[in-house]
Structure formats: structure tokens, C-alpha cells
Symmetry: C3
Subunit: 347 residues, 3 copies
């Protein structure tokens, strides 16, 4: 396996797939520049193996699942879910001691399969608690997945600095110019970075307007993003017209998770989940919500980030000596923390 | 910005665009391996800026023009035509001192927008005088633009050595084998190189035949190309049957400008203009002339030059120890002068 | 010319083309990462020249054949079949001493044109004797050609280790699981490596079943592959139900030649010929045989080998520390011999 330790933090959890993407058959995805095959045992529990037979380096994902094992398409060697070779159909059937592939620890939670690709023991406590996604009506929860040809940190920057909303996005999430002038509050504790904006706008954000007591009238808004390593961002956004506490429970709001996994240094798997606390039974509304989130990124953020990637011609953003403004405080802090964690891990 | 000084001469004028290509909206072109956005102020004068916002490196060309400024598509920073940031919609609106992009000096002349990308002050006197293009009936002047996936010096070689005409091109500009046997006269003064061929042929070149006094009968011909740095070649070609002086004014002839601008080391913007002194009011003939010049290069020279680029696997032509023949005198002299100028500039 | 000596053995014969591919016109193929133009003299004998004019590096293959010479498309220099420039249409017509291209020794045999690209004199004795291909009814002989985006040694590995047959291929050549358990006999003499398997199966291989005395009943089978440098593999496979000697002459069998020529380090020309000793007049059967061989490689081996190439990210298979099993003895011995020959040649 390639040494990806300098490019990516590895002793941490990454989203490998949506739970719904992985079924009984072999699912292939490149993660941290490493080919991985993912499938489910007969009992439904997920398995991830290095997708490269140690014999002749064929992708196991081109083979077949058999009895919780993967059978290589080229010469028929079988590997169990621990990655050990359990069958060699050739000659006397002797299984060489080295005949194994790396098996990656997985956790399935919040509608995602999470993978641990580092060399230290997997630590379940390192995945933040996003159990709020699990609580509520099933029609008020949705997930999506996209892939973009840009470095994952550009997507982190994009979500950690929401001041771009009014400049880049269309009508449904406009703040009517109210968000940009705010200087966000940035907090940084235990290697987590939180950024929070509060403002008032009229009419309220169109995604909330119809569910507020007085549509079209002034409403207080907030949005808060919290980054945890390596690339998880929990975003809560809400509006209220009754002076209640500005949080998910007390406003008309939604609770989202954006999480990115590098495919390579120059391409990214982007996963997204959203939970809302209003109009919770409306399945059609749920479908529209996820489509519009998906569309906003595909059509608005995505093309800009791909172009930024092209213009940068490097992934070391800070080395390019960018001109920083007030809204950069959050994402720059995130870049510095992540850089330092990667350096510590590589040391 | 990348240091392109070793690859390209920079303190000189390059064609950035045809005048007709740049309008009120944002026009994007890579020049000398640098992204450039070009547009016109409300008064019509052209502006060229480095097409990379200094904040988050988004291409300004994806943004919008507003009041002679460019507004970045990502976070709304605005830059005026000098490249200074004039508006920051974020936080208190403070504009960081470093918030500016490079603005490139431009000149608009002869139907082209010329750009100066070097670090020394732009010197208008360094663009040769091609004002003959401006004199005459508008229907006797035409421009075109092409892009080729080869190094610009291969195109210079191609135009500076016209001995290929009878071998590569079709009927309308054939010299009936008369040009190749000539040893051209090469002159080299003040870093300009001129190459001139004279010959007689029957019938005359088909592009001139119908406009000569005695179509189909012998005519004296000349063609002269004059190279000036970095990649401008002025070509005059004409025919006469009355023993008059062999120049543009006294023959049935045309006066062309070929000028190349590197997009990258391996791709080239190729601009072309042609003025003629016969059949000057015929707009349909004008259209056919430019189409056939465009077609000759796209279909005949272009594919050969692209293939040469592939075969060379380098851009250092002379390092490949080519077998040189008499017709190479002009283009080789040009390569040596340009190389020396680039080395001087880089020193 | 590039120094390809470290990547490829050069003082040896490679298949450059099927005899049927090269006609009177100019045929272009990249061999050992070198552009080559191949054509036939008026007397039918084949010629191969470096496909790069020494003047301005245009591909000669874009030019025209004239009187057994090739005329460059760009400036009309002509080169004869020894690679010497014989005509310069420019200036006084002087031909510079250096004006020549490398001419490669060829041999035409067994339906192929073989090329010698090394610096030592071509040695016809170094091409093994495959004259069995020439003996028999014309309808019992067929050839094909394919190109694959993988290193040529991966194809050698594939043919030298046939234990993959039951795992990768479909019904018509299945051994019903009988071949994999065998430990093949490997012989290595004079830098040739032979691998042989023998087994019994019921029903017999479907390609032979209908031509055996008792279709559907048990039959003894054998397959033998013999590798010679650089990449020739002669494969004989047959079946018998009468206890006769297990060779081409005494069984229902076929005699094949697989030979590979690197296009580049990462792509390969794959040539194939097959001769059979049964149903020899059946032209339709002949057509089906070659189509099914072609199809098996295109649809079954090929995609696996391309994927292996991607997963390896190098061409040094042994450096990846593969887990080897009994069936690897043959191909690994081949890799070691070839590596040593290349190192000797480069020394």
C-alpha cells in the first residue's frame, strides 16, 4: 500500500459509503488513494478489504462474494472478512502465510459506513455523536452523495465559511445580504472548531418561511458549523419569530452533516445528511430538500471549487499567501489544526 | 503567479485577443500559462487582469462585471480595472492592503488587443508598425483566430520557412514547384529577421491569377516574411506581369500578419490578419479568403505541426540535432535570437 | 531516438505487424516506444523506418510512398528503404550527410513481419522455428491482433500460467476444475521456459469434444506453453481418448503462437496465430475459432490485466512482493530470465 500518511490523516474515521450504497454485492471505492472493496456479510454487517489480491494484484471487487468471503476473479483465491486467504484452488491447495489483504475496521452509524484506515487501533469514541440524525420521523431525514474533482479541504473551507451564501447561491437560501456583514463567532476547543452567525432578515429564508408563525415577516436566524477531524462538519441552521433560544430544538430548523473523504489528493467523495424538525411527515418535501441541496452543490459551489483547484495548482492553500478576510477565521483555523495533526501523525 | 520567464519572453507585446472577441462581458484566456480575464470598461477600453482572486483563488472570469469592476463569483470581492480591491462585503468591509490582482497593460491596434505581461514598464514602441492593415476598404481586411496543441515556435518555423508550400498545401497557393529550388535571401537587423523569395511561375498563383492583366500567363512573384519578437510575422506576397517594383504597392498582392501567443508550452493561440490591394469591395471574396487561410492551417499545417510536437517530445528543437537545409536559415536565426533574448531576460 | 534499452530487450525479434496489415501504403505503429513506419517495396518486401524525418521531425507516415522511397509530408525530403535521403527539393538540392533515418531489419515469416530494433546485427537464428504454422490447409490457420493498455509482461504472465482458465474463462475452454489442482511441470533450458499440464476430464474441452471419437466421454488432455525471448509463447493444447502420445501430431489439437510487442511501457500489441489438425477445411469454423479467441482475451483476460496494471502502479511486479503459488513457477522464471537479459544488454 502507498504511504498516504503525509497527505491525509489516517487514524480517524472517514465516511466510506452511504449505508444504502453497500449491499450483498461487491462495492468498489477509492479512499485516501487506496482501492477498497466493501460488501456485507450474510448477517448484514459490512466488511472493507484492500481491493488488491496479494497474488497477482487483481481487484477483488471484480470477483464474487461467496460465504462471507471474496473470491478473486483471476485465479480463484478466496479471502474472508478478516482478509485472510481461506482457499487456494491451485496445486496442493497450500495457503502461503503472507496470503492476506488488509481488512479495515468499519462502523455503521447515522446512515453511513465509516472506515478507519490508519495503523493504530480503531477508536469508536473518535467519531463525534451525530445521533440527532437518528431521532425523528423517517420522512424528515435524507442523505446524498456526490463526487467532485477537487481537494477535500476546499470543500471544508466552503462549508466552514458560509459568507459565500449570498454571493454564490440562489433565492431559496439567500439571507438578503444580512449574513456577509456579520463577523462570525469562532470557537476552538479540543481540536473542534465552531463558527456561528446570527442575523435578522425579512422575509425569512425561503426554506423556513412557510413553517414560521408569520410568513414574510422579520425573523431571527442562526447558522452554526462545527468541524471535527478529519472532515466532518455538522451544520445547524434555523429561524424563529418568538425570541426563543437559537438552537435546533427551539426554532424551525435543520441539522445537517457534511462529511468528505478524499478519493485522491485531487478528488473527493462528498457525503451529506439532513434532519429537520418541521413538516416531518412530508415525503415529497423531503425529496425536494435533498434534490435542492444536491443541486446547489453540483451547480453552484462545485464548479467554483473545481476551478479554484485548477487555479491553485497545489493543495497547500496557505503557501499561496492568500489575502484573508474576517470570514476566513474558521476555515483557516481548521486547516492549521488538520495540518498539525497530519504532521504529528507522520512524525 | 508562476515564473514563466524561462519559457517565454515577457517584456514584449503578445496578441491577447481579436478586438471582436472582447465585449462587455468577461472573456477568459490562458496566456503564457497564466489565466487572464479581459473585458471592456463602459467607455469601451479594454482591461486585462490576472484571472485569480487573491482571496480564495476563484477565477474572476466566472464572476460579473459591475461599474468597470469585476466582482468575484465566490465571496463578492470587487476589483477595479487597476486590479485594486474596491469592495469587501464581509465583516466591517475592511479591504486588506494586499487585496489586488495584477493588471496587465494593453494596447488596441490593428484589430487586436495586445498585452504586456513582463515586469518592466510597457513600451508601446516595441510593437512594430502594422498600420498598413488599417489602410483601405473594410471589405479588403479580415481576421481569424485558431488554437493548436503545439509549441508556438513550431508555428513561427512554419511561417518563416515557406519552402513547404508546394509540399504541404493544395492548388490555390501552389508555386508549381518554383519556390523550393530558390535559396531565399535572409536579412537580420535589430533583432528582426526578414526572408524573401522571388520566382516566376505559369499560371500565376491562383489567388492572384484572375486579378492580373493576363490571367494564365507568366508572372513574377515574391513573398517576404519579417519576424519581430516575440512571435509576430508580417508576410507580403504578390505577383506582377509588368516588371514593376516587387512590393505591396506595385503588385497584385496581400499584406498579412501572423502572430502567436503561447497558451502553455504545448499549445498556442494563433492570430491572423490579411489586407489586400485588389478586388477590395467584394465582401464575399473577403469571406472566402479568410476561410481558405483558416482551412489551410487547420487542415494542412496544423496536423503536421501537432505531429511534430508529439515526435519531438521536447521544445528544444536545436538540442535534437536536426538536419538543416538551405530553407532553414530564416527560422533557425529566429530561434537563436529569441533564445538569447529569453536568456537575457531571465539573467 | 530515446534510450529504451533499460525498459525493453532490443537485440531480439518482435512482431511488428501481421503480414496482412502492411500493404503498399504507409503503415504507422509505435514499437518499443519508438514511432515506426512500415511499408512494402514494389517487389512486396517490407521496409521499416524510424517514423521521424531528421529535418523537422514530421512523421514520415503522414507522407507518401514513391519509387520504394518515403517522401516527407512537410518539405518533401525523400528517404529510400535503407533510410538514406535520396532527394532534397530545396535550394541546390544538396543532401546533408546526416540526412538519414534508422532503417530496421525485418523478416517476414509465419504470417508476421518481425522487426529487430537493437544496435547489434540482426540474427535471423534468434527467431524460434514456428514453421508448424505454415504446414496444413489454409482454412485451418488464422491470425488476429489486439491492443491492450497494460504492460506486455502481464500478458506473458497470463499465458504462461494457464491455471486461471477455470476461474476467468467461460464454458468452451473449461477444464471442469481439473487443471488448477495440477502442479505443472516447468522446464528451463537455453533461456526458454516450458510449462506443461496434463489431466483427464469429462466431457472433454468443448473446443475438441465434437472431433474426438467418443464425444462426451472421458479424454486425456494436455497443454504446453513455451516462452522464448522477448515475448513469444507457443501454446499447444490437445485431447485424446486412445492413449496415444500427448502431442500435436497424435491428438485432436491446436498449435498457437501468442506474441507481444510493447507499444509503450503501459500498452501492448498482442498478436496471435492458431493452426489446428482437425476439421481443417471448414472456413466458417476457422472464423468462429479466431473470433472466440479474440473475444476471450478482449472480454475476459484483458479487463483483468488492465485493472492489474492500474493496481500495480509500477511495472516491477517482483518488487511488489507478490504472494506466489505453485502455478507461478513458469511466469516468474520468465520474468527473471528477461530481467537478467535486459540488464546484460544495458550493461
Amino acid at each position: 500500500m502507498k504511504d498516504t500518511s503525509r497527505k491525509f490523516l489516517t487514524n480517524t474515521w472517514y465516511a466510506a459509503a452511504l449505508s444504502t450504497e453497500v449491499t450483498d454485492s461487491l462495492f468498489k471505492r477509492r479512499l485516501l488513494d487506496t482501492p477498497v472493496v466493501i460488501y456485507r456479510r450474510d448477517d448484514g454487517s459490512p466488511v472493507a478489504l484492500h481491493d488488491r489480491c496479494p497474488h497477482r494484484f487483481a481487484p477483488l471487487s471484480m470477483g464474487k462474494k461467496k460465504d462471507d468471503c471474496v473470491v478473486c476473479p483471476y485465479h480463484g483465491l478466496a479471502f474472508n472478512s478478516d482478509g485472510k486467504c481461506t482457499h487456494n484452488p491451485h496445486g496442493g491447495g497450500h495457503i502461503p502465510a503472507k496470503a492476506e489483504v488488509k481488512s479495515y475496521p468499519l462502523m455503521e452509524k447515522y446512515g453511513f459506513i465509516w472506515i478507519w484506515m490508519g495503523d493504530k487501533p480503531a477508536d469508536p469514541a473518535l467519531l463525534p455523536d451525530y445521533s440527532l440524525l437518528d431521532n425523528g420521523h423517517p420522512n424528515a431525514l435524507a442523505h446524498t452523495y456526490m463526487k467532485r474533482p477537487c481537494n477535500y479541504e476546499l470543500i471544508t473551507d466552503n462549508v466552514m465559511d458560509l459568507s459565500h451564501i449570498d454571493h454564490l447561491h440562489g433565492e431559496i437560501i439567500t439571507t438578503r445580504g444580512q449574513l456577509s456583514p456579520q463577523i462570525p463567532k469562532v470557537e476552538d476547543e479540543n481540536n473542534e472548531v465552531a463558527v456561528r452567525w446570527e442575523w435578522e432578515q425579512t422575509p425569512p429564508m425561503l426554506i423556513f418561511n412557510d413553517f414560521l408563525p408569520k410568513p414574510g415577516e422579520p425573523a431571527a436566524h442562526f447558522v452554526e458549523v462545527t468541524w471535527s477531524h478529519p472532515t466532518h462538519i455538522q451544520l445547524t441552521v434555523g429561524a424563529t419569530q418568538d425570541g426563543s433560544a437559537m438552537d435546533y430544538d427551539n426554532t424551525v430548523s435543520q441539522y445537517d452533516l457534511h462529511t468528505c473523504t478524499p478519493e485522491t489528493e485531487y478528488s473527493t467523495h462528498y457525503f451529506f445528511a439532513t434532519r429537520r424538525n418541521h413538516n416531518v411527515e412530508d415525503a415529497e418535501f423531503n425529496k425536494i430538500k435533498i434534490e435542492s441541496m444536491h443541486g446547489a452543490f453540483e451547480d453552484e459551489d462545485g464548479p467554483i471549487l473545481d476551478a479554484v483547484q485548477d487555479q491553485m495548482e497545489t493543495n497547500d492553500f496557505l503557501a499561496l499567501d492568500p489575502v484573508l478576510i474576517s470570514s476566513d477565521a474558521g476555515p483557516v483555523r481548521v486547516r492549521r489544526i488538520l495540518k498539525s495533526m497530519i504532521e504529528q501523525e507522520s512524525a
